[in-house]
Every structure is written in C-alpha cells, then in structure tokens.
Symmetry: C2
Subunit: 319 residues, 2 copies
Amino acid sequence: MAEREAVLVADIGGTKLAGGVTDLDGRLTTWAQVPTPRDGDAEFLWRTLESLLARVLEDAKIDDLGILSGIGCGCGGPMEWPAGLVSPLNIPAWRGFALRERLTERFGDKNQVRVHNDAICMAIGEHWRGAGKGCRNVLGVVVSTGVGGGLVLDDRLIQGSSGNAGHIGHVVVDPDGPRCQCGGVGCVEAIARGPALAAWAQSEGWRPGQPEVTAKDLADDAARGHAVALAALRRAGLAIGTAIASATCLCDLEVVAVGGGLSQAGALLFDPLHEALARHARLDFARQVRAVPAALGQTAGLVGAAALIIKGDRYWAGD
Amino acid sequence: MAEREAVLVADIGGTKLAGGVTDLDGRLTTWAQVPTPRDGDAEFLWRTLESLLARVLEDAKIDDLGILSGIGCGCGGPMEWPAGLVSPLNIPAWRGFALRERLTERFGDKNQVRVHNDAICMAIGEHWRGAGKGCRNVLGVVVSTGVGGGLVLDDRLIQGSSGNAGHIGHVVVDPDGPRCQCGGVGCVEAIARGPALAAWAQSEGWRPGQPEVTAKDLADDAARGHAVALAALRRAGLAIGTAIASATCLCDLEVVAVGGGLSQAGALLFDPLHEALARHARLDFARQVRAVPAALGQTAGLVGAAALIIKGDRYWAGD
C-alpha cells in the first residue's frame, strides 16, 4: 500500500468552491477555486465540486487515492453534524444534501471523510497555523454574507451540543436593534453581515436605487472617504467589537482572528472594532485579548479542513 | 495507611463561609456555614475558616487527615489560578492571600489541595450532580452581589487563558447601558447584581432613604406586588436572559443553571428571563436550551469543590 502523505480538502461557500491538497503538516501543495454555480440542481453543484477536486488531485499528481490520509471539508451551515447532511443558507440547491456520504463514495476509498462548518474550519486553520498559532483559547470570526465563527478553548475545538459552538453571529449587541434573519433581535449578524450593512447604507443615502451593490462596494467607497460608507463600516466594527468583548469575558480568550470579506476593509473596520472592545472588555484578563485580522486569508478554511483529519484528536469529536 | 474515602470542602463568599465533608460520590456527609467576618484582618478570617473546617471534620468523625482524598475549595474571585492566591472582591481582608498554600499546610498532609472560583465550583456542582447532570454543555450562573459563572463544554470545565472562563457577568446586554464596576458599559452585572438592582429600584421610588436595603428586600416586596420591585426583577430577568441567549448561541449550550440569592425570587425573575431568552435565542439549536433554577441550592459550591478532587480529569486542569 502507498504511504499516506496527503489530505484532500474542500471549502464550500455561497460565493466560491475551493479545493486543494495538503501535506501532513497542513501546507497546501496545490489549490484552486471556482465560483459557486448560482443555477442548477443539487447534482450539478456536486459535479462542479467533484471536478474541482479531481483537478486538484491531478495537479498534485495523485492518481492513487490510497495515498490520502483522508478528506476534510468545510461547508456553509447549517448542517447535521457529524452526519454531514448540509443545507447551506446561501446554497439553496443543497437541502439535506448528504455531502459527507457523497465525498466518501467518490474519494473515500476507506479514508476518513470529515465535514464541518466552514467558519469552524476557518477558526481551526487560524488556531493551528494562523493568527492564533501557539495560543490555547482562540475565537475565529468570519464576517461575510453572514457572521459565523468557531471556538477553540483549552486547545480543543469546542463542538457544543449540536456542533454549533462558536456561532458568534447571534450574540446580542443591541437588545432593541434590528430584526435578524434568525428571528431574533439585535444579533451582531443583523447589523454587520454584508447585505444588512449595504442595505443600511442605502437607507442613509449611499448609492440609492442600485440593488446590486455589495459590502465590497461599500468598503471601496469607504476607502475613498464616502461619509455614509465610513459610517456603515464604523457601525459594523462597533457591533463586531461588542460581540467580541462579550465572547472574551465569557470564554477568557487570548486571540480573536477576524476574517471574511468585510475584514478586507482593514482599519476602517478594525479601528471601531477595537474601540468597542476597549470600551466593553475591561477586566484585567479580558484586556489581554488581541483581536487581529485572520492570517491565512482565503486558505484558512482549507487548512482547517486538513486539520480535521491530521489533528483529529484536537479538532474532531464526531464519529 | 487508611483508605482514602472522603473530601474536605469549603466555599468562601463575601456573605458566608461554608465547609463540609463529602464521600467519593460527592455526597455531603456533613456541612456547616458561618457568616463571613466583616471586620478583622486576613489571619482572623483564616482562623474562622480553619475552625469551621476543623469542626466539620470532627462532625464527620475524621481524626486522621490521611483518609482524605484531598481538599477542594471555591472562593470569590478574582484569584491567580491555579496558584490559589485569592483577592475576593467582597472580602477586602484578603488581598493576594495564599489560600491554597495555607490549606495545604494545615489540612494537606500530602493530599492534593485545589482552589477555584466559587461560581465555577457552583457550575461544576450543577453539571456533576445538579440541574445539568447528564448534559455535556452547561453554563452555571450565580446572581448575587456580583454575577458570575462557570462553563462546562463538551463535558469538561473550560478554564480559558487565565482560569476565568464562564465569567458571564461582563457579557454586554445594553451597549449604552449603565457603567459597570469593571469599568465597562452595559454588562449584565451592572444591571442585575443585587446592589445595582436595589439602587435602581430606589431611584424609581422604592423604599427611599433606606441605605441598608438589599436585593432580598426587593424580592420580598416584589412577591407582595410592589410595582417598582416587580419592575426591578423584570429588569434583572431580561438582562440575565439576554446574556444567556448570547452565551447559548456562542457555546451551543443545553442547560443553564441559575443560582445565587436573586434566583430565590422564582418566577418573578425567571419569567422575564425566559421571555428575553425566547426573544433572542432563535436558531434551532439555541431554542433547545433550558434555563432552570440551580438544583443544589446552597450546597452546589461544596459539591463542585469536591469534584475538583474526585473528578479532576474533567474539572481540573491546573497543577
């Protein structure tokens, strides 16, 4: 039998599908991404993923699946964990899609296949090899179409009762704030997720009558000094910083790694984030926390997916 | 050598000192409590604790410290953990008091001595033998002079970077709310801790000019239907419920056990608590959480202190 020396990894989001191959230290030897198909049924989406993964295997010159240690995959939530039945909010074509089973059938070859939430994989990647490397208590936060996260405490990934621990998006930052898509009120996600932020800016007079604008446009306009766009990023940063302060006090965190599209806005987001964090995290232990940009960028989720396999004792508690 | 079959336990708070002896299943065979001396220096307080513990050992007919498995102790924070140098906010006589060392010298006899935060001991007790028994993800909350807590996730006590994980008192529930004694703004403790609640009620016209009134008086008056007292308990319940909602989403909790003096108010506190929880914890997984009164009452901290010794693999990560 060939020596097991590589991990096949995938990261499935509403905007992009990414695939790659890592060595057993979690270094990506090759990776690629394609846009997530907006149309087409569940099988079409699966075939798109399948051919992406076949391509990265070919790029990595792996023709024998027997040299894989396993397959690790991050996917947008919610999902039934650890069963890997996925129903990503932003991928309507998959509802109860048996992702773990399909990956096992196609690429498993007796290898272990592990699927977890994409934001959790990002957090794992940042803890293992990114901004939280060497720290035992790390929160990863992804600010994008939604706001998600993953929680590593006492050097282990926290699963929680249903595999959803780390879901910072629904921490309350304003009890009388806007209604959230979860049905709640004043969640950080209701304020800081990209579409909510763009909608708020439009209601304040930014680019009126342009339904297609995104948080990326907002960040670009803020960088050019547009007052409403700047106010919108400040609004998001304060909300995220407040949620991080609560999480820091509750979980005694050392590092919070913030990634996702909106984190690209840099100081325009992080300055108000740090302002809110300094305002609300005041106890001695809480003041030690460092909230920093995620270090691994777009590949954090792939590296975290590899860790589900390579460092399963720390990051995987499923079957 | 005698067979080790008992644990000496203590629970040190600003109001009461409790001591007891448990068997190796964590059942209290005897326990007693005395008021915490309000005056006197560090040594006087120590002698009070020492004689209480000597008394419970005598009650339990233990004259050979060699039959103890260890000594477990909960104490008000903050403390240097795991060193056990304690500086309880509500016990000014002890500042950097070497509690763990003193307990070891006096009762250790080569036994292990373990000291942790009193709210954490309460949470451990509730997880091991109380309202959270059989659940893997439990938050214990103590609402008293302060608001504290402890966090058991994936069946293990979470320590965090400085032993402070579970400190729910400084989760933000109103970002523009009252100033907290921690220096922050809008912490749940700033609203729901007993003295803050009584002060708020007085500012609204309840028992004006009576500086000695307590949250207990407030709860009593609320039970008699006093409108301002009822509003105060509602205010506390909503704040606590909002903080619990945030903690539930972040940590994917199954059970939250609420204890401490104010929890004695029953439905007057728990009804608004559940109202806020239902309003803010809306995701499918978060709706499963049960927020209930602590089951072990005044002895939860003693039982948890015993668990530091008996179930150290799960509840103790210090040296």
